[in-house]
Symmetry: C3
Subunit: 355 residues, 3 copies
């Protein structure tokens, strides 16, 4: 299956330079693309490679188009953001290959009598849907998922196999929850009485907006009393932990293994590199970017890129420098002593000593 270039441009926009009847069947990187593929040039530094590409057509920016046109013989689709165009074209081709899950409820699923499952939704094998849960139009609940009492799954949202979505939590439209993710588990809240922990019931919910993606084996805790909030367009990768009562601002993205402790408030349009950690009760402004492996131990009120990880070294060097790091206070003392001595040496002799 494939499409003609003219049809693609009609659907996705861009200016076609070439034969609209040319058939293309997929999308591939510059070096790998074959005669029935589209490719894309999203980085001007690579434009010298475009000429050598075997792609039938190339998505290029207006800035690169003249350069590419000189060496590249295939068709061109000129678009202001070739990488976004690539994403949309890839979605188009993927949809052609996709087997749409059939509407209806698999006979092996356990669906409570008073749950409301839209007739256009798909509910797979061994799914459990409890009392009062609502599954929206076109939603897909794959095999082995659990949907708790009163939970709400929005239109066109897709839960992959073995995801768990607990009672009373909600997710909006066009969301994706990947396998093994757990939404709405209890937050980690205890009162301590003489060393023994007394559980504080976690009665809040997780409220998730539209167009949110949640990665495999990621956990989001329900709020203690109030709710945990994930705003529209947030993208969470795999193995992430979001504590109770956090708020993650719209269009913020977090890479794998990030941890956010409870009651952190994170702004919009932020990015978090893999394994970044955020302590509890902090506030992070909009457009803050945290590098991978960095520990955020204080609130950040200004946009910008922040980093904090120990630089890697050969182990022998690390052992040496780590020992010095441990003794930095002593090093500082030595410098202070040197400064004092030198001050004595360079100061003009005092009058009283002259006598």
């Amino acid at each position: 299956m494939g499409t003609r270039l003219g049809q693609l441009v009609e659907r996705l926009g861009g200016q076609l330079v070439g034969d609209p009847n040319l058939e293309v069947t997929g999308i591939a990187p510059l070096a790998d693309a074959g005669v029935s593929d589209i490719s894309f040039l999203s980085n001007s530094k690579l434009r010298a490679q475009a000429g050598a590409s075997g792609a039938a057509a190339m998505i290029v920016s207006p800035l690169d188009d003249a350069f590419v046109a000189e060496t590249y013989r295939g068709a061109r689709i000129v678009s202001n953001n070739p990488y976004v165009y690539f994403a949309r074209a890839a979605q188009f081709f993927a949809a052609l290959d996709e087997v749409a899950p059939a509407p209806g409820i698999d006979p092996s699923a356990s669906v409570a009598a008073n749950a409301r499952v839209d007739p256009s939704a798909h509910v797979g094998a061994h799914v459990t849907i409890e009392d009062g849960a609502v599954i929206g139009a076109g939603a897909v609940i794959d095999a082995g998922c659990f949907i708790g009492r009163g939970a709400v799954i929005g239109e066109l949202t897709h839960l992959f196999a073995n995801a768990t979505f607990h009672a009373r939590c909600q997710i909006g439209k066009r969301g994706i929850i990947h396998s093994g993710a757990v939404i709405g588990t209890d937050g980690f809240g205890f009162a301590n009485e003489g060393g023994v922990y007394i559980k504080i019931p976690q009665t809040g919910r997780v409220m998730i907006g539209d167009d949110v993606d949640i990665g495999a084996n990621t956990c989001i805790d329900r709020g203690a009393l109030a709710d945990t909030i994930i705003e529209d367009g947030v993208k969470l990768d795999n193995q992430i932990q979001i504590g109770h009562n956090c708020r993650i601002g719209a269009h913020t993205a977090m890479a794998g293994c990030v941890g956010v402790a409870g009651s952190a408030t994170i702004g919009k349009y932020c990015t978090f590199g893999g394994a970044a950690m955020v302590l509890g009760h902090l506030t992070i402004a909009d457009k803050v970017h945290i590098s991978s492996g960095s520990m955020v131990s204080r609130s950040i009120l200004e946009p910008g890129q922040y980093t904090g990880f120990y630089p890697l070294a050969k182990n022998a060097e690390w052992e040496k420098t780590a020992a010095i790091v441990r003794n930095l206070a002593a090093m500082r003392e030595k410098i202070r002593a040197l400064e004092k001595t030198i001050k004595t040496l360079t100061e003009p002799t005092k009058p009283t000593e002259k006598i």
Copy 2:
């Protein structure tokens, strides 16, 4: 649903100052509490806010009571530890709302003929319980859980949906295992023969005490030959990894994303901040507190708070200081050279040179 204040105090203790017939239906923080809520003052610094709270009743300590009584018009429950009282009151209200799962086995569950499930236990949809497993009185095994051969689940212990509890492992009374947790998976044990790994069978168990909570997607490895031990009252948050043959002492708590390598022995009443990591074969004393994001690379034999993470900075500053960290040995050499030079400058000239 709710309760009268008199009934609450009868059940939970504390001294009531106010109308015992006042109806309350829930519990909320100072600022959010409404006319049918109880609130609590667990931090004396906030006592000025108590007067403005709309709560029907307030839990206060004896120390704060006189101060609060001056401005706050509602009823007061005086208790030595208001936060613990709050936890117990919250448990009371949560129990009123809770839908108790019906005793019995869901028809879709697969329960081995010789497994012993107490008639008062609940076994949900699509659960698998293998040969010889024992499910105690009042235990709740939610949908999609797996209980392996010969495993033992104690009285009133609750496994949330899609938890996995492997063969021969045991958990005591009143425990909680959250969704996606995996108890008793194989430890990571191999012998290396010419670069190729030969698996060492993991034949020990995981033995878990009473009142233990285990978070979502947390893993606890079974022992290699002996057992992995989790003592009474331990609280583990989500996404934690506990290696084989570890022992975690009673009433120790670990926040999300902590990792403990194999054969570590951790004392009682310890706390581990999120993403703290503990190397294998270490011993950690009782009452040790490890800060978030810290790597424990040696045994700790004295109680106290320990920390080790790289401080966060704006990326440009981090790049500068990280480069200096890498060259700390050179910096130390410079200081030594300076010390030497200054020693020469300040030493009295030697007699032989006088001639």
Copy 3:
């Protein structure tokens, strides 16, 4: 159940010194072994303890044999690598105890009509196997697992309960996938258009070689366009995250909580300590060893041991040294100033100043 020593040596090799008819039923460490156990001496430093062991037989290296023979009265099995011999013997004893899962498909499983399940394979309760999937001879698919469309599970590979193996991915022979692992979830790929993320479909696969072990709750992303590759003999512990389009070289081992960002290429025979992190698009040579808790932020082209984590300290000391780390640039300036001053003091006075 057990075996006679003669039978064991016949099967596993080594030179027996002692009675071949002696019955042994298990294997245990030096200190714990009883009269029907084998033990092993894999570390010469412990050889003085061998004499006190109650084990019926001891696996020793040729180097330690003479020493052990002087004090230890039991039988000896002399082998060049006692730890590997121990692993193989432990496998032998574990197999005696193991209940082999019966071939065939549990009636509660949902298996697509055109999936091919070898008659010798075991498919447990509540398993879902989708269209066109292939389950090899002797494979074991435990309860609650999901196998997506067109996936291939090789001969003798074992998926533990509640593992998820997505469409079109493949694993070879004798593999192990532990509970909660998710293979072939979407990679984290987006194009950004004015702050909003556009999903890039992830259409590659995860291709896994023979003899690969994958830990509980570990995730491996499918490739974006090309495949994610896990070569033969790789061993991954629990809670690991492998990003899309990574390649992990043969016989590389990673401990728990490791994260590898997308498109990293990792060599053969590497080891990664727990919670080590690798940024995307890096290349790591063969035989590189990364210490626990270390962030790999650049490619590593030479074998060796590399480390990068902040050394642990008492919290009060950490606060002091972390403050100095933040100000290392200022400290460097002070040293430069001192060097300058001292240079002035020690330089011979210039002629022009003499006048």
